[in-house]
């Protein structure tokens, strides 16, 4: 039983936390792809930017002495950070992508432009914050929640941190809100119509420019949320973006680019796969070692920890080979 709880703490809790970050990030990528038909590479940097905005807001709050009991200040300032990042995302579109779209540039050109945006944001973040690491929990404590299991002979407790709980709550709220927006509201339906067929949507009187703006607002705010959640879970670094944008793209592609629900599924799939792949499975085999025909090695992880990042890509490549447009059928540019 102790071993199972160890498994739960490492794989399930870690997977849910990582999966919700990936899912929230991948929704943004997939929405942009659905509406604007290009892979938005700068999404990882929008996430980092959102996280840094949240960090600055948190410092400001702490300087002013604003705090709420039982809630890390990072979560308190999250809505403001989301609004600010959404505004910046609109500005990025206006400054970098809209002129190219107006000229009728191919999606490939927009992709390359998004790399330019990546480099600019990355450069600015490093210019102002250096290349060191920052921590949201410098002046606050990261609360660890331990739940004892009421069974005989069980000594381990189920552990998770308070940010992890809040992250899952935030993700659930965001996903539900997005679901109702897409299925119930007029604008959400217009968005889905445009993702299906942009020309037809425009002909039937949908304000496509408004839809594009709303897409950037949603993508920007979700990016800020995902970035802040990641920074709260681990650490805040300027090169956070690069390590995260690739698994997020993998999640979006695995789910089928353009499919919001697919992105959520892909995010959790990749999150769980990463934690399960580096988990030491011999822990689970040890209690039944006597019944096994072979000796249980000390470490039995599917891949060594250093290769965690590659798990996402192996899944990506396998999915692309087996079902080239993702598990849920995705759009192609």
């Amino acid at each position: 039983m102790n071993e199972l709880i160890f498994f739960f703490n490492n794989v399930i809790v870690g997977g849910v936390a990582l999966g919700s970050i990936y899912a929230v990030g991948a929704i943004g990528v997939t929405l942009i792809f659905g509406i604007l038909r290009f892979a938005h590479f700068a999404h990882g940097d929008m996430m980092t930017m959102g996280a840094f905005i949240a960090f600055l807001l948190m410092l400001a709050c702490q300087a002013l002495g604003i705090s709420v009991p039982f809630l890390p200040t990072g979560f308190l300032v999250l809505p403001v950070a989301m609004v600010l990042t959404a505004i910046i995302a609109l500005g990025l579109d206006k400054g970098f992508y809209a002129p190219l779209r107006k000229r009728g540039a191919r999606p490939v050109t927009l992709l390359i432009a998004s790399i330019g945006v990546t480099l600019i944001i990355q450069g600015l973040i490093r210019l102002f914050f250096g290349s060191g690491t920052w921590n949201f929990f410098e002046n606050e404590t990261k609360q660890l929640i331990r739940i004892p299991v009421p069974l005989e002979g069980v000594t381990r407790t189920i552990n998770f941190t308070q940010p992890q709980v809040l992250m899952v709550v935030c993700t659930a709220v965001a996903v539900l809100a997005l679901h109702f927006f897409l299925t119930r509201s007029r604008l959400g339906k217009a968005m889905r119509a445009m993702a299906d067929n942009a020309d037809l949507a425009q002909v039937s009187g949908i304000n496509t420019k408004l839809v594009v703006r709303v897409t950037w607002v949603i993508a920007g705010s979700l990016a800020a949320m995902a970035g802040t959640m990641l920074a709260l879970d681990v650490q805040l670094k300027p090169d956070l973006a690069f390590n995260i944008v690739l698994p997020i793209f993998a999640a979006a592609i695995v789910g089928g680019l353009g499919q919001s629900y697919g992105a959520i599924a892909g995010g959790f799939l990749i999150g769980f796969a990463e934690t399960a792949a580096i988990f030491n499975w011999s822990v689970l085999l040890r209690p039944i070692a006597g019944a096994l025909p072979f000796e249980v090695p000390a470490t039995l992880a599917i891949v060594p920890t250093e290769y965690k990042l590659t798990v996402a890509f192996v899944i990506l490549v396998v999915v692309l080979l087996w079902r080239p447009t993702g598990i849920f059928k995705g759009a192609s540019s």
Binding site: T109, R126, A250, L316
Partner: protein, 429 residues
Amino acid sequence: MIARRSLILFAGLFVLFCVIGWMLGAANISLLLVQSFAYALIALGLNIQWGYGGLFNFGIMGMLMLGGAATTFISTPIIPGFWGSEGPLLLGKALLAFAFGFLLVWGARKADRVGIRGGWKTALTIVAWAAAYIIYRSQIDVAAAYIEATPDGWIGGLGLHPVLGWLFGGVLAAGVAYIVGKICLGLRTDYLAIATIGISEIIRALLKNMDWLTRGTLTVSPIPWPTPLPQEFQASGTSITDSFIYARLGFLGLVLIVLIVAFFLVQRAYGGPWGRMMRAIRDNYIAAASMGKNITSRQLEVFILGSVLMGIGGAMLVSFGQIYDPGSFQPINHTFLIWVMVIVGGAGNNWGAVFGAMLIYITWMISDPVSQWLFNGISGWSTDLGWGAIPEIQSRASQMRVFVLGVVITIALRYAPRGLIPEVVKREA
């Protein structure tokens, strides 16, 4: 028109190099020249893939790393301690295990020949992959642990001439490009971009963590030069500054020969029937397929050819730097930088690719000292105003390169989307 413009641009570039050479001294400019010519070779490789074939390869970094690993393996001195130990035997076993695993997977994929079809075949393939992986891991982990425990900690090199290492870099890159291409080339644009990025990250993770092969983060150094080193000139009585200039000029000559040969071949290929066919596939692959061109195998061809140039270029850069540090390879420095070179220079035009490579490389290198100078100026001004100085100017200035690169590509896409020296589209009347 284009010819005149490119002449003016190249003349401008020459003047720029002269001015920078005059400011930094001959030793520094010869260093910049060698590196920018090596980057020009890599940019030519990308120009074949993207400019000729329209392939969205974002995995350049992986090819450069492979080239570097190849030249490291070929040219560093032999370690007798390793060859005398049980290491080669264990590695041989691992190789056998790999071959056996490969056969297993291959056999499972051919299972329909003996009547196993559909879901059963899929299941068999998955089991074969798992079995192959377990068998390989069971051998390689032992070998790696053994070799890493020896005094040297890695297998060393073969002690051969570095130029052989460059050739091997090309061959290795070609082999990997074949596998990557087989997997990925069915994918279109965005999917291909992500898949190639993913594969280059996998290559980086492997080379970074296979300490027994590349020493990983411990880095391999010094890697020998194909031409005489500055130390050899110093031994014969040349002054230190002059020795660096002579040695680098020697290396530069070798790089130039490779670049000119590659450029000549690539340029010939562009004008010939093969180049015409590649452009037809790039512009409209459906039409090209309907004319009977085998799209997939042609794209594989162009992908491999481009990767060969990237592998050789990467090998040259590592040889020249004399250090192989897998941790120093970054997507920004080794993938996006090359993309900016080709986009700014002009995709599809080899002169444009070379021009872009040299211009962007020099911009990349001098934006650090220039912004340092700029920040020092601003800092002095703000100190005078009483706002205090800018902290950590040096580390901040080195981050400005990334920003400048982003601004350059944004401006290029906006005002010269086809590049400074664009592709000349010939039309028959």
